[in-house]
């Protein structure tokens, strides 16, 4: 089955981390990206760079929802079952840093 692992982070998750710590976190994500179950993965620029469009052509500076967590990136994975996808999700540094990972199966046509 294919799953999207949607990574949500606390806005200030990386505040106060030094370069070495940031590099270590990046390395963890790179290692996950190299897992054979991972089809693709992308990291988003910060929410402060977002532009949101609503009906009537209304544009807003920033993300759609003003929530505690912000969507920060995703992986698309091919895993035999939910437990396998969960095992990958549990390795995401975002979880340890107070964020969360939402696991959503993809519609197969």
């Amino acid at each position: 089955m294919r799953y999207a692992l949607l990574i949500n982070e606390l806005p200030d998750a990386y505040a106060g981390l030094d370069d070495a710590q940031l590099a270590a976190i990046t390395a963890e994500y790179v290692a996950i990206r190299r897992d054979e179950r991972v089809l693709s993965g992308e990291r988003l620029r910060p929410a402060s760079t977002a532009t949101t469009l609503r009906a009537g052509g209304l544009l807003t500076d920033g993300p759609f929802a003003d929530t505690k967590e912000v969507f920060g990136g995703f992986f698309l994975v091919e895993a035999p079952d939910l437990d396998s996808a969960l095992e990958l999700a549990a390795r995401m540094p975002a979880v340890r840093l107070g964020g969360s990972v939402e696991i959503r199966p993809l519609v197969e046509l």
Binding site: M1, Y3, A79, P80, D81, L82, D83, A85, L86, I103, P105
Partner: protein
């Protein structure tokens, strides 16, 4: 072979339902189809066994019948064509389907933590326990429609989210087993709280099944012991529709066989190294069936249970043991420091402690508060009786 054929069908249903459902999930990979096919197979048994006679191996007959039914069901739903291709050709007749035992996989499927807690309970009672949707709805005081939707949503999530039909590997097993045991204990407590013997009996049946399937897990044995020790006091727990506290129960009405079985299981769990919260609770329940109760030891076990769980409810129960060993004033100080707000047993315990301390006004106020929160008739009558006796 004894009993009428309808009795045999009923007996077989009780004994084989979970095994047939589990075998069918293993066969077709879909809980919904498996349950429907199993139900249809038992319905066919009820029609045909009185005419054709009971088959030599009822389980094999049921699984084979249900498998054929599942293939028919899937054939009717076009979107399952891919699954169907995987199922055909039908399994060779030589295979002994009565050897299939996927019940453990079924239990872990129904209790998967990705399902909502109330859905785990409902699915377990349905797929493993064989209760009808209407029976489960009644037990949890919701409408049959609500329960039906809850079950359907859970089965759909299992299918669409790819929840595995598998016993978790060694690394995952401890936490997944926690979830399973919590589901079983919740079913038991739902039956215990309002005196529904059927649900408690079902929980005991399920934990006994799990205990047999997971012999290397003494925690399961401990929960089994805990349920039997509590349940052995069922008949004495109620008198004239009123709850009877442990100390005032007629011990002649305790089920001595069940008590002995519970004690033996507890001994076995402890001998195999179990020291988890279920073991501690079972040990406490066991001590409380002795005469006189060794309150010092009960308190010691509550200390350990509190350290293991950090639960305010455990702290409240521990206060009762403190009252017996250190007096009601010390217990009251503990109870008043707990943040349990509207938990009804907080107020009934406070009332009892204040009564013992001779504070009649304080006790009356606490009984009133407990009465306002009481949910069952027997509990209310007990509290009213106590308040009237001040």
């Amino acid at each position: 072979m004894t009993g009428s054929v309808p009795d045999r069908v009923e007996e077989t249903f009780r004994a084989e339902w979970s095994r047939v459902v589990a075998a069918l999930v293993g066969f077709c990979g879909d809980l919904h189809v498996a349950e429907d096919a199993a139900q249809e197979a038992f319905a066919a048994a009820a029609r045909r066994w009185p005419v054709d006679g009971v088959p030599d191996v009822p389980r094999a007959w049921l699984i084979t019948t249900a498998r054929n039914g599942a293939v028919d069901l899937l054939r009717r739903e076009r979107r399952h064509t891919e699954k169907l291709r995987a199922l055909e050709p039908p399994p060779p007749e030589a295979e002994d389907v009565s050897d299939i035992d996927d019940r453990l996989e079924l239990v872990f499927l129904c209790c998967h933590p990705a399902l909502a807690p109330e859905a785990r309970v409902a699915l377990t009672l349905r797929a493993v326990g064989g209760l009808t949707t209407a029976e489960i709805a009644r037990a949890f005081l919701v409408s049959e429609d609500t329960m039906k939707r809850r079950l359907t949503r859970a089965r759909t999530k299992i299918r669409d989210a790819g929840i595995p039909f598998r016993v978790p590997d060694e690394a995952l097993l401890p936490e997944r087993l926690d979830t399973v045991l919590a589901v079983l204990y919740l079913i038991f407590n739902q039956g215990w709280g309002d005196g529904r013997a059927d649900l408690a009996a079902e929980a005991i049946r399920l934990v006994a099944l799990l205990d047999g399937l997971l012999p290397a897990q003494p925690r399961v044995t401990a929960l089994h012991a805990l349920m039997l020790l509590h349940d052995s006091r069922r008949a004495a727990r109620m008198r004239n529709g009123m709850l009877v506290p442990l100390a005032e129960q007629d011990r002649d009405r305790w089920d001595s066989a069940q008590l002995a079985a519970g004690r033996a299981l507890l001994d076995r769990a402890i001998a195999r190294g179990a020291r988890d919260p279920y073991t501690l609770q079972a040990a406490i329940a066991e001590l409380q069936t002795e005469d006189p109760v060794d309150w010092v030891e009960v308190r010691r076990l509550y200390d350990a249970l509190l350290a293991a769980t950090g639960s305010a409810v455990v702290a409240l129960n521990r206060a009762v043991a403190v009252a017996e060993t250190g007096g009601p004033a010390a217990a009251l100080a503990i109870v008043d420091g707990l943040e349990l707000g509207d938990y009804r047993y907080l107020h009934s315990t406070r009332a009892e402690l204040l009564r013992r301390l001779g504070d009649r006004d304080g006790a009356r106020a606490a009984y009133d508060r407990a009465l306002a929160l009481a949910t069952t008739g027997p509990e209310r009558r007990f509290l009213e009786h106590r308040r009237a006796g001040l």
